[in-house]
């Protein structure tokens, strides 16, 4: 299935993309996606840590992703 990946902050710089479509097995969890991303974009290991948002909400590791989900890579925030 296809999802959309959004990169922000340092993740944009490391991956070199703002937004890409990404092919994923059905019923993958957020945790599985994280591991997958760290394999495919090994530079993401340079970030202290990152969270995942699905459709504009923070997602827990065991959330199951669906076709067309908009998944954002959220490096440590530093607003304010």
């Amino acid at each position: 299935m296809k999802i959309q990946l959004l990169f922000f902050g340092i993740a944009t710089d490391l991956v070199g993309e703002n937004s890409i479509f990404y092919e994923l097995k059905s019923d993958e969890t957020v945790l599985a996606l994280k591991k997958d991303l760290l394999k495919n974009y090994s530079k993401l290991k340079n970030i202290e840590d990152f969270a995942i948002a699905v459709n504009e909400e923070y997602a827990v590791d065991n959330l199951v992703l669906k076709e067309n989900d908009v998944v954002a890579i959220i490096p440590p925030v530093s607003g304010g």
Binding site: L6, F8, G9, I10, D13, N46, I47, E48, A53, E56, E57, Y58, A72, I74, P75, P76, V77, S78, G79, G80
Partner: protein, 140 residues
């Protein structure tokens, strides 16, 4: 009547706008926090800051903070404004204003809002120095 105002903008933030939104005849006090861009971080001179946001999600998270503050504290209104784009030293990245009948609640809600914003709202700042730049909080 809406008791919350959240805003992300590339325009200059105005303290007066936040004040005017929260001010009310029923309130005895207004607590405000105004973030300002510092000229140094870890003893290194900062030349400018560049703020970027995951805007739709950031607005949702700011709205959650505002709604939660209204639930947790005896306050009347709350405004949370955040700037994006390039900011110079002394410019204002964030303003939080809270009005209440009694001041204690306004202080608590204001501090709660800025503390939470810095933890949850997907906004990032890149610090620019004479000799380079760094994404704040991102490196181990």
């Amino acid at each position: 009547m809406k008791n919350t105002a959240v805003l992300i903008t590339s325009e200059k933030l105005m303290v007066q706008d936040c004040y005017d939104f929260v001010q009310d005849a029923s309130c005895g006090g207004i607590a405000l926090f105004v973030g300002t861009v510092r000229n140094s971080t870890k003893n290194k001179e900062v030349t400018l800051l560049d703020f970027s946001a995951y805007e739709p999600m950031a607005l949702k998270e700011m709205q959650k903070i505002a709604d939660l503050a209204l639930t947790k504290f005896q306050i009347h209104k709350i405004a949370i404004h955040h700037a994006v784009g390039e900011l110079q030293i002394g410019d204002i990245p964030v303003i939080i204003a809270v009005s209440s009948a009694h001041r204690k609640a306004a202080f608590e809600a204001c501090e709660f809002a800025i503390d939470t914003l810095k933890e949850t709202v997907p906004i990032w700042k890149k610090e620019h120095f004479e000799d380079g730049e760094v994404w704040v909080n991102s490196h181990p």
